[in-house]
């Protein structure tokens, strides 16, 4: 979609150049992310890789939510012109939740277990929109309706353990999108959900992000799902961005091809063995790079 591609600097939400995230002593650092560079406009960008590829660390580093033991350095990391690297913690904290939102894998761990979900969404309206009392509850109810929860009034009073995983993730999306953030980072938002609700939740997220004209970074190990929802996909392997593709058919890197081939498919004749990644080849490629 040409309208979605970043054409001018004002459309560009995120500008990242040479981002490194390292763990361990500075004499012998372990690179979780090495030399990540990309731009994001008002579009949907997928980041794909195996566990340990650095995809989640990258998402966290953008929000500056990396663990204390990690060192983050970058030639440039700007969000709508603001330099995220030099921003103080207080200013960063204001940005989080209002301009940039993070949606995590499992709603059970992200929601407060001892508070009804309606109250938790209303709190977001109070903090970020400055609403009070009834107005914040009404905003919460509207948002729950927007994420297509049928019985809004009843759901508002339920505790996180009383709702299903799919509903919990809708509540999380409602909380995170209430303030119409410019950038949404979704880290495996549907991995904990049933396949049957997975597509509903993703379609919902996709629609809301489109309506708000926000940018979306969808982090997942499921390259087929990401290809279905994103305009561009960055493939990460061992902390490095190895390839950027716009469709599965345009993949060229052996790692990306290996990931696609390893997924069982119902199409074509059933293979005796599923193709597996040639890790030796990949290790050689990494060394020579």
């Amino acid at each position: 979609m040409p309208a979605d591609t970043p054409t001018s600097a004002s459309d560009r939400l995120l500008h990242v150049r040479g981002l490194d995230v390292t763990f361990g002593r500075s004499a012998n650092p372990v690179f979780a992310v090495k030399g990540a560079s990309f731009d994001l406009g008002r579009e949907r960008l997928g980041i794909v890789g195996e566990s340990g590829s650095g995809k989640s660390t990258l998402g966290r580093a953008i929000m500056r939510l990396h663990p204390k033991s990690a060192r983050v350095t970058a030639d440039a990391m700007r969000f709508m012109g603001t330099d995220l690297m030099s921003l103080g913690e207080a200013a960063m904290s204001r940005l989080r939740g209002s301009e940039i939102s993070l949606i995590l894998q499992d709603p059970r761990y992200s929601l407060n277990p001892v508070q009804p979900v309606g109250m938790q969404i209303a709190e977001v309206a109070e903090v970020h929109l400055g609403l009070k009392g009834k107005a914040s509850r009404a905003a919460a109810a509207d948002m729950l309706a927007a994420v297509r929860i049928r019985d809004v009034e009843r759901t508002m009073g339920l505790y996180p353990h009383e709702i299903s995983g799919g509903m919990g993730q809708r509540v999380m999306i409602a909380m995170m999108l209430l303030n119409k953030p410019k950038l949404v980072i979704a880290d495996e938002p549907t991995s904990a959900l049933d396949v049957s609700v997975r597509s509903d939740v993703l379609t919902l997220l996709d629609n809301l992000v489109r309506e708000n004209a926000s940018g979306l970074i969808l982090i997942s190990h499921d390259i087929r799902m990401v290809a279905r929802f994103c305009d561009r996909i960055i493939v990460m392997y061992a902390g490095r961005m190895v390839e950027e593709i716009t469709s599965l058919a345009s993949a060229r890197h052996p790692y990306t091809l290996g990931l696609i081939a390893a997924m069982p498919s119902l199409d074509g004749p059933r293979p005796d063995r599923l193709p597996v990644l040639d890790r030796q080849l990949l290790a050689q490629m990494k060394e020579s790079a």
């Binding site: 069982p264 119902l266 599923l274 597996v276």
Partner: protein, 245 residues
């Protein structure tokens, strides 16, 4: 190899009765792999746990290897069937070395348990012998699942129950574990019951499958019918469409 006739499972909590499995019947031939698919809460895992003897509140009949098994298993029923769970972290004792974890089933059945048997078992699932000295946290997720498979096969059971054995793994590692499971089934003529929510995995691994919804078995089909997307019920069609978004 497995004959299940009209099994029902009720769960009671407070004054609430949950009919988790509603009169489900199916058979699995020797050497066959039967898939069970459905959403969470449809009763697929409860069926599997009833087969394993972990669930004791079922009514109906379950036959295995030509004989009836009861709700409470007799000692000689136990080596008939073993189970592999979704989460290899949860199924291995964190403070026991792999060697000890693998000897456990042999010791509990009063059989010889020596390092050589453990070494052969590890090699059988593509792991080096010296892994016997490691702790579970020193292994990757895929390696841990291989250990869980090795342990399930130590008693040489004719039947192996698999409950989402690869859903916690990366796709690339999943492919390796699925290939291992297929090879072991061929070599050892094992009978599998494979529970998964991933229709791609079921289509790769199984000969036949059953679809469950709200505790009921609503459709039975061959893997070829699944691969050709020739399903009969509206629900199965929906499941199929949503699986490949």
């Amino acid at each position: 190899m497995i004959k299940v006739r009209n099994i029902d499972v009720h769960f009671q909590a407070h004054h609430h009765d949950k009919h988790a499995v509603k009169s489900v019947s199916f058979s699995v031939a020797r050497g066959e792999c039967l898939g069970i698919v459905g959403e969470s809460g449809c009763g697929k895992s409860t069926v599997l746990r009833s087969l394993a003897g972990l669930e004791t509140h079922w009514t109906g009949t379950i036959g295995m290897a030509g004989r009836q098994v009861g709700q409470k298993r007799r000692r000689d029923d136990l080596p008939l069937v073993q189970m592999v769970f979704q989460d290899p972290y949860g199924s291995l004792h964190p403070r026991h070395r792999i060697g000890r974890a693998l000897k456990e089933p042999l010791i509990s059945m009063g059989r010889t348990a020596d390092d050589d048997i453990v070494g052969v078992a590890l090699e059988g699932v593509g792991l080096p012998r010296h892994f016997a000295g490691r702790f579970p946290h020193q292994l990757s997720g895929g390696q841990r699942q291989r250990v869980a498979i090795a342990r399930a096969l130590l008693l040489k059971p004719p039947i192996v129950l698999l409950d989402e054995p690869t859903s916690a793994l990366d796709v690339s590692v999943q492919a390796e574990v699925l290939n291992l499971l297929s090879a072991l089934r061929r070599e050892m003529e094992l009978t599998y019951v494979f529970v998964s929510h991933d229709l791609g995995v079921i289509g790769q691994m199984c000969d036949r499958l059953i679809v469950m919804r709200d505790g009921e078995l609503i459709e039975e089909m061959t893997a070829d019918e699944l691969r050709g997307r020739r399903v009969k019920t509206e629900y199965a069609r929906e499941l199929l469409e949503k699986s490949f978004i």
